[in-house]
């Protein structure tokens, strides 16, 4: 898989997924969603969690945004893109370019 920098996320075929060392969790004790990695914890809201759940290296940002629009009233594709781009910059996500792949996760 080819990895990319956040600025390349304008690519229409960019298909994000969590980095292999990152895991999404919901903490009942804290009543919040979080992305867990060896040294970093990103606390995210329910919409963020919904985005992450759709990031499977199969869907493009546009497809993720479209699916979210079925569930939520207001989902701007630019918001999804910047959420993903931010996590890519922080090594929390990776991006697969090109055709959807069956990935080994």
């Amino acid at each position: 898989m080819r990895l990319t920098k956040a600025m390349e996320l304008t690519d229409e075929d960019a298909r994000p997924r969590l980095a292999p060392h990152v895991r999404l969790t919901y903490s009942a004790a804290r009543k919040e969603y979080a992305l867990l990695s060896p040294e970093t914890i990103w606390v995210i809201n329910a919409t963020g969690a919904a985005i992450v759940e759709l990031c499977d290296a199969q869907r493009t940002i546009a497809e993720i945004s479209a699916e979210l629009r079925d569930r939520y009233d207001q989902v701007a594709e630019s918001d999804v893109r910047s959420f993903v781009a931010n996590l890519v910059t922080k090594h929390g996500m990776e991006v697969n370019h090109g055709k959807a792949l069956r990935t080994a996760r």
Binding site: L3, A19, H21, S27, A34, P38, I41, H91
Partner: protein
């Protein structure tokens, strides 16, 4: 009061290595009476209930605990993110497969240098080849590989070779953190502190590697705080987001707080006697430097007090004897001369070349199901997750 996010469980101080940069306390014998499997399981359950999301299993060498697989399984069942911080010694194929099946999320493998002679000299034991094998095993089983290399005067000039080795191992992440001078590393500070020239060269190598490698490998590089203008935001503030439980059950707000707690003569906060909830919320040791009421000037009136929280209480204690002083690393600290003197000595062109590092002493596990002889030093110096643990603020 915020709930803690991270727990560092130092399961044992036994370790097959004897690195002079170890952050474990000098008085290893005081921690022989280790918590049982059941004790740790209860601690993990209480931690999860308290809001902890991330569990670091360290030591010493955590693989010296024969119940390590059981402990990982327990943490997995509780939904905790598990991170094993290991020298790689004791990571047999069978053990690794068991840990994978038990749900271990991540392994941080320590290595001391990029070639056997220096690695084994620093580790005090023949271990380089076994670490290479362990790295391969981690990748083969599909874990992401984080390589930890504690940097210091003796190995920092090898940083280019170390990065090449990390690439050859197909590491996903490499942590190149200069030593934090606690425990054995504090004792050996003058032999570990690099020169300014060494640091400048190392930083140039890291910059070039980041450019060359792009996002294929994440490189985390941490300079020694002795060379920075301001202190590190140690633990993101005392008893703020994370804490440590050491082998005998004592809970500490900072992984280096062993001696500080005793010196203050505060009642011990031991998980054998108290719940984690009580310890986090009420133990005098945890209350002591929480927030900013304890702060003296220059911290009290400083606009950075919310950024670095006055630095490390344990470093202030180690250098001045008073944990409530500003971290002497800060250039505004009235005690900054202590740090300047150490830096000057490190850069003295006339200082003798001969190094006199004191290797971490050996600790043999005597309790329960003990294996052959095992001993100690560890990868723990890198457990400065205060550097990077973040909540929301990316």
């Amino acid at each position: 009061m915020e709930k803690p996010y991270g727990l560092l469980a130092e399961l044992t101080y036994a370790c097959p290595l004897q690195c002079a940069y170890c952050s474990n306390p000098l008085e290893l014998d005081a921690y022989r009476d280790e918590l049982s499997t059941e004790d740790w399981q209860r601690v993990f359950a209480e931690a999860a209930e308290l809001g902890v999301l991330q569990l670091h299993l360290s030591g010493g060498e955590p693989l010296q605990r024969h119940d390590i697989v059981e402990l990982v399984q327990c943490a997995t069942d509780l939904g905790l993110y598990t991170n094993l911080i290991t020298s790689g010694l004791g990571l047999s194929t069978r053990r690794a497969e068991q840990l994978l099946a038990a749900g271990l999320d991540h392994i941080q493998l320590s290595i001391q240098a990029d070639e056997a002679a220096l690695n084994d000299q620093i580790a005090g034991t023949t271990s380089f080849e076994r670490k290479q094998v362990a790295a391969q095993l981690v990748k083969q089983l599909g874990w992401p590989l984080t390589l930890n290399v504690v940097l210091h005067r003796q190995n920092i000039d090898r940083i280019g070779g170390i990065l090449d080795m990390a690439v050859a191992m197909d590491a996903d992440r490499v942590e190149l953190a200069n030593t934090q001078y606690a425990g054995w590393a504090g004792h050996n500070r003058d032999e570990l502190l690099p020169t300014r020239d060494q640091l400048e060269r190392a930083e140039a190598v890291v910059r070039a590697a980041r450019e060359r490698l792009g996002d294929t490998m994440e490189i985390i590089y941490v300079i020694p705080d002795y060379y920075s203008k301001y202190p590190k935001p140690c633990m993101d503030g005392w008893a703020s987001r994370q804490f440590t439980v050491v082998p005998n059950g004592e809970a500490l707000p900072c992984p280096a707080a062993h001696e500080l707690g005793r010196a203050l003569d505060l009642p011990p906060a031991n998980v054998r006697e108290h719940s984690l909830e009580w310890i986090w919320e009420s133990a005098p040791l945890f209350q002591q430097y929480r927030g900013d009421a304890w702060m003296p000037d220059p911290c009290r009136s400083c606009d950075r007090k919310e950024i670095d929280f006055g630095g490390c209480r344990c470093q202030a204690f180690a250098l001045t004897g008073d944990a409530a002083r500003t971290d002497p690393v800060c250039h505004l600290s009235p005690d900054h001369g202590i740090v300047e003197d150490a830096v000057a000595a490190a850069n003295d062109p006339l200082r003798p070349q001969e190094s006199s590092l004191t290797p971490r002493s050996k600790l043999i596990r005597t309790k329960k199901r003990t294996t052959a002889s095992t001993r100690g030093m560890s990868a723990t110096t890198l457990v400065q997750f205060s550097e990077t643990i973040l909540k929301g603020r990316q």
